[in-house]
């Protein structure tokens, strides 16, 4: 995913902001990392460039 995608992503449960942690990036592409919702205390993974924003029960 591109970094600019952060502007339109939110927690799927509470719609709150997500905190981005980058583990691996190539140019402006985030390849591996995670998105964290502090309010829900939930982490959503970014793997192979795809953020997974499915709530825990649907993964």
């Amino acid at each position: 995913m591109k970094k600019s995608l952060m502007e339109i992503l939110c927690c799927p449960v509470c719609k709150g902001d997500l905190k981005l942690t980058i583990k691996k990036e190539e140019g402006d592409e985030i390849v591996d990392g995670s998105l964290y919702c502090a309010k829900c205390n939930e982490t959503y993974p970014i793997e192979d460039g795809i953020p997974n924003l499915l709530p825990p029960g649907l993964r």
């Binding site: 502007e7 719609k15 997974n52 924003l53």
Partner: protein, 194 residues
């Protein structure tokens, strides 16, 4: 992995991802006629990514979602910016144009394959289960005057689906129809009333 071609584009298709069919191509054609250069586009249930692929260089931005990890991998492979999500949950928006090829076939338990492909066609007993969930919260990502372009089948119930959109505050217009064996496919353009 298979390669498919539509119009001027070649795209890849992975196993257990919906093989683009008449409904996909009808939606591509309608989307090409609908999209405006300034549109922020969201495609829901992108599958191989084919519709988004055609819109990428014609809109301000294009983002796609799918619930299937295989579809997400496939769409990304085709160059589409994709988020694994349940419909639009996890996207903040706002968007100007939402494109949606829902699972719209009425099913009974035995129809399901038990694979990710079920999500591409399984519309529940009426065929309208996922369309109903889509409309439930659509106002959170689609502001007034925002447009939805969606395809489904006569098996889903054309009048019933139109009425669902109307009762959620949309004006509804039929953009195209196509007769295929056993059903008629229809593309609706639905605009959220101000």
């Amino acid at each position: 992995m298979t390669v498919r071609i539509y119009r001027d584009k070649e795209f890849e298709l992975l196993d257990d991802v919906y093989d683009p069919s008449e409904d996909s191509y009808l939606l591509v054609d309608a989307a090409l006629a609908e999209v405006r250069p300034g549109d922020r586009v969201l495609e829901i249930g992108t599958g191989s990514g084919i519709v988004s692929l055609f819109l990428m260089d014609r809109a301000a931005s294009v983002v796609a979602t799918d619930i299937s990890p295989l579809a997400c991998a496939n769409a990304r492979r085709n160059g589409v910016e994709v988020v694994r999500a349940d419909l639009y949950h996890g996207l903040y928006g706002p968007f100007d144009l939402v494109i949606f090829n829902p699972p719209y076939l009425p099913t009974v338990a035995g129809d399901r394959l038990g694979s990710w492909l079920d999500h591409a066609f399984d519309g529940g007993p009426t065929g309208r289960k996922v369309i109903a969930r889509f409309l439930e919260g659509i106002g959170t990502i689609l502001p007034p005057c925002g447009r939805v372009l969606t395809v489904f089948s006569s098996l889903t119930g054309i009048d019933e689906v139109k009425e669902m959109y109307r009762s959620h505050g949309f004006t509804v217009e039929t953009v195209s129809t196509e007769k295929v064996p056993f059903e008629t496919l229809i593309v609706l353009r639905c605009v959220r009333r101000p």
